[in-house]
């Protein structure tokens, strides 16, 4: 009898636990989940609502029967007052549970970022499914357009592209790997500025857009009306949201058909708002978006982003093109690599912080130079001087832009300044957040940056 009772209790306990844990198992079962690979967040004009776009992995592309051709991602949009609300509506709409653990990119539109995004970033950072290494992008177009144009036939799996593109910062310096966790920390810190990757549409993006929205039946813009505002006025809300929907579409169209300048500027100093790429992918990720507090305040060009990356010690090697010191019509390509750690010292003895930065760079000239008259060492000296002058000018321009124009310490110089203080209250009294605006910068380079070059003399030509 005792044995029967014992087994009865054991079996009952197992049944109770199976029942209790089945709901979690069921909801997190791989078959019952839809994996979001990117999120796009826009603010609707003249409304408090957000337009939250979900880009899903097309699981059909992973199956054995799938063709080798690229499959378009599935993009759905929800209009809701907050992101959690949008997630709930989306869960109801798709009938499966959203899973954000494979979300690689979170894109905010520039217009929305200008209004402050701390609440949204805070929610996303504390969401258990979203990883702190997810990249943050601010787009100069609508976030939904950016996501639609991020596809490319070069990449069969879009998640892989989202995974890999920030790593190009290591060998170009034209973008940076900005994980959500670090972005959130910087937003919270009053002394620090924050940056995100800057996403733009490339030339002919408008024609590319026709493909994902019209030709692919899987892609759909679904705008679900927000019922949280006033449920008793559901019909009005529906009408309003339909209008909002239409206005969003119009707005999208305007953004998509934006004019892209044909007379492109020098690629190193191009304005990030004017795309310089043209190709199969409709979106590019070059430059950075700068934040002060939690608001977007401006952008950085590619060369400014390179300066940022160099100061952050995030770039392994990069190529610069400078005007030849021998002939202004000629360009010299210089590959800078083997970068040693830079030294930064901050003088806080005066009311204005003085930031002294010393770089230790090594470079080589990629081109074969035509030079008949100047001896080798003189050529080297002139090139070194030209490179230093160019870099000093670019660095100073970048640093004064971050301090004077943006008042945003995106390179976290304040952390170096903190070394000079004994306690946090001493540092707070110094009021770095306001003094950074008046900071002075001194840039220094090692004596000989360029170590090798090849000179072609007249006699070498056949």
């Amino acid at each position: 009898m005792k044995s029967v009772l014992k087994w009865f209790i054991i079996i009952m306990t197992i049944i109770i636990f199976l029942y209790a844990f089945s709901s979690s198992y069921y909801s997190q079962n791989i078959d019952h989940l839809d994996y979001v690979i990117a999120l796009g967040i826009d603010k609707l004009p003249n409304s408090d609502n957000l337009s939250v776009t979900f880009e899903f992995a097309n699981l059909g592309s992973f199956s054995e029967n799938s063709s080798s051709e690229q499959t378009e991602p599935i993009i759905n949009t929800i209009i809701a007052p907050t992101i959690p609300n949008a997630l709930t509506i989306m869960n109801a709409y798709i009938g499966k549970q959203l899973n954000l653990s494979h979300c690689k990119v979170i894109a905010f539109s520039e217009d929305f970022a200008k209004t402050g995004i701390l609440d949204e970033v805070s929610f996303l950072t504390h969401n258990i499914q979203i990883r702190p290494t997810t990249n943050v992008v601010v787009t100069d177009c609508n976030a939904v357009d950016y996501l639609k144009h991020s596809t490319s036939s070069l990449e069969q799996v879009l998640t892989k592209y989202y995974d890999i593109f920030p790593t190009s910062s290591e060998y170009t310096g034209y973008t940076s790997n900005i994980p959500l966790g670090r972005f959130y920390e910087n937003l919270l810190d009053i002394n620090s500025g924050a940056v995100t990757i800057l996403g733009s549409l490339v030339e002919n993006a408008d024609s590319k857009n026709e493909n994902p929205s019209s030709s692919n039946s899987q892609n759909s813009d679904v705008s679900v009306p927000s019922k949280s505002n006033n449920t008793s006025k559901s019909s009005d809300t529906n009408n309003n949201s339909n209008k909002e929907n239409e206005s969003t579409k119009m707005d999208n169209k305007n953004t998509i058909t934006k004019t892209i300048q044909n007379n492109k500027q020098d690629y190193q100093s191009f304005d990030p708002k004017s795309a310089i790429s043209e190709g199969d992918r409709g979106a590019e990720n070059m430059g950075l978006a700068v934040f002060k507090d939690d608001k977007y305040v401006g952008s950085l060009s590619t060369i400014e982003t390179l300066c940022y990356s160099l100061l952050k010690d995030e770039v392994d090697n990069f190529v610069l093109t400078i005007t030849s010191p021998f002939d202004e019509a000629e360009k010299v390509d210089i590959k800078v690599g083997d970068l040693s750690q830079l030294k930064t010292d901050i003088d806080i003895s005066k009311d204005t912080p003085v930031i002294n930065i010393k770089f230790n760079l090594t470079a080589e000239v990629i081109n074969v130079l035509d030079n008949q008259n100047t001896p080798y060492d003189k050529t080297l000296e002139k090139l070194n001087f030209a490179l230093k002058e160019y870099l000093t000018e670019e660095f100073k321009s970048y640093l004064y832009k971050t301090s004077r124009e943006y008042n945003s310490d995106i390179n976290e110089f304040y952390k170096i300044a903190k070394r000079k203080f004994i306690t946090n209250s001493d540092f707070s009294n110094y009021d770095w957040a306001n003094k950074y605006e008046t900071a002075e910068f001194n840039i220094e380079f090692n004596e000989d940056i360029i170590s090798t070059l090849i000179i072609r003399h007249e006699g070498d030509r056949v």
């Binding site: 306990t13 109770i16 636990f17 209790a20 844990f21 709901s23 979690s24 909801s27 997190q28 504390h126 258990i128 990883r131 702190p132 290494t133 892989k160 995974d163 890999i164 994980p179 966790g181 670090r182 959130y184 920390e185 919270l188 810190d189 976290e412 952390k415 170096i416 903190k418 070394r419 203080f421 004994i422 306690t423 946090n424 209250s425 001493d426 540092f427």
Partner: protein
């Protein structure tokens, strides 16, 4: 007759108790309290912990092979032994309940969002009860197997996060001020929570005369673990992530990516932590049962497993509000740790030594 424990098993068990506490709460609490000075404070805490352990072990050497209950019986008879025993039982049950609650909360948040917390706590309690019924052999052997992995994991986490570190987060060096960092900050010595169990081991050791050696190795390893944990969190995100419901060390693991192939280290870390936390729950329960057995003169402690687990289950379930949990973690457990790890043992040791010397002179 229970099997006597080797030095390796004892050291691992002591470290397990500290690791469970550091991973779940104390590393985060330390950084929240002393901010940028936390690395310096944890170094000082480690030195202090080693010194205190050494002194306590030296004092206990006067009573080789006797645990704190035997010594208190020697000092004040059965009455004192019962009071001290019950005091420790209450303290350990509270720790057991806290561990149960914190582990269940983390598991619910990460893996079982739709399962009611009551079932997760119950599952952990039942698992602890089943293991406890097998006796000390399974508990200490399993702990010895898990701890080396958990210990290695912290070094791997530290190395994996190196590229994300900002060493400047440790400045200003004195954080919120000298007093705040070093006087108030030293109360965080409760990161050496394994020390509370050290005084119950002498009667269970194969070589009780090596208690000083065990204590020193434990305190050094505990100190190193604490420093690496604090450094990892501090260099990675200072206190920005400390407001999260998740343990900061777990969040730091989520930052680790070894290329595109090894990206989800947190799953392996959680697996190790759950195994480790179940071991910690078992060690705790084992000592509760041993103390109760000792003070009630029961021949078998198995009938006590169910009531003890039910008590801690009830307390864990009652810790619904974050403010209550915060009070227990930040205030009460700190005070109880200092009382039951330093004050009570020190008074008993000194009293017993005086009594012993007095007897000899008579």
């Amino acid at each position: 007759m229970e099997r006597k424990l080797g030095n390796f098993e004892v050291i691992n068990s002591l470290i397990m108790m500290s690791i469970a506490d550091i991973v779940l709460t104390s590393a985060g609490i330390l950084i929240k309290e002393v901010n940028s000075a936390s690395l310096l404070t944890s170094c000082l805490i480690s030195i202090l912990g080693i010194i205190i352990t050494f002194i306590m072990c030296k004092l206990s050497k006067n009573f080789i092979g006797k645990d704190i209950l035997n010594i208190s019986e020697y000092l004040g008879g059965k009455f004192l032994k019962t009071i001290v025993g019950f005091g420790f039982v209450i303290y350990f049950i509270l720790i057991l309940a806290l561990f149960l609650r914190q582990t269940s909360d983390a598991m619910q948040l990460i893996y079982y969002p739709l399962t009611h917390i009551i079932f997760i706590i119950a599952l952990l309690s039942i698992a602890t009860g089943i293991i406890a019924s097998f006796g000390n052999n399974s508990i200490f052997k399993a702990t010895s197997l898990i701890v080396p992995f958990l210990y290695t994991a912290i070094f791997l986490i530290f190395i994996g996060n190196t590229k994300n570190f900002n060493i400047n987060n440790m400045f200003p060096i004195f954080g919120n001020g000298f007093n705040h960092s070093f006087i108030k900050g030293l109360t965080n010595i409760f990161t050496f929570s394994g020390l509370s169990y050290l005084f119950f081991f002498p009667s269970k050791l194969k070589k009780p005369e090596e208690i000083t050696k065990i204590g020193l190795i434990f305190s050094i390893l505990n100190g190193v673990y604490l420093i690496f944990c604090v450094a990892d969190i501090l260099f990675l995100f200072s206190d920005a992530m400390n407001h999260s419901q998740l343990p900061p060390l777990y969040i730091s693991v989520r930052y680790i990516e070894f290329g595109t192939f090894f990206q989800r280290m947190d799953a392996a870390f959680i697996f190790l932590c759950v195994l480790g936390l179940i071991s910690a729950l078992n060690i705790n329960l084992y000592f509760i049962l041993e103390i109760l057995k000792n003070i009630t003169n029961l021949s078998d402690s198995k009938p006590l497993i169910f009531p003890c687990l039910l008590t801690s289950f009830g307390i864990a379930l009652g810790l619904k509000q974050d403010s209550t949990l915060d009070f227990l973690e930040n205030s009460l457990s700190k005070i109880l740790f200092i009382v039951f790890t330093f004050v009570v043992p020190l008074i008993i040791f000194i009293g017993a030594i005086i009594k012993k010397k007095f007897k000899y002179t008579q």
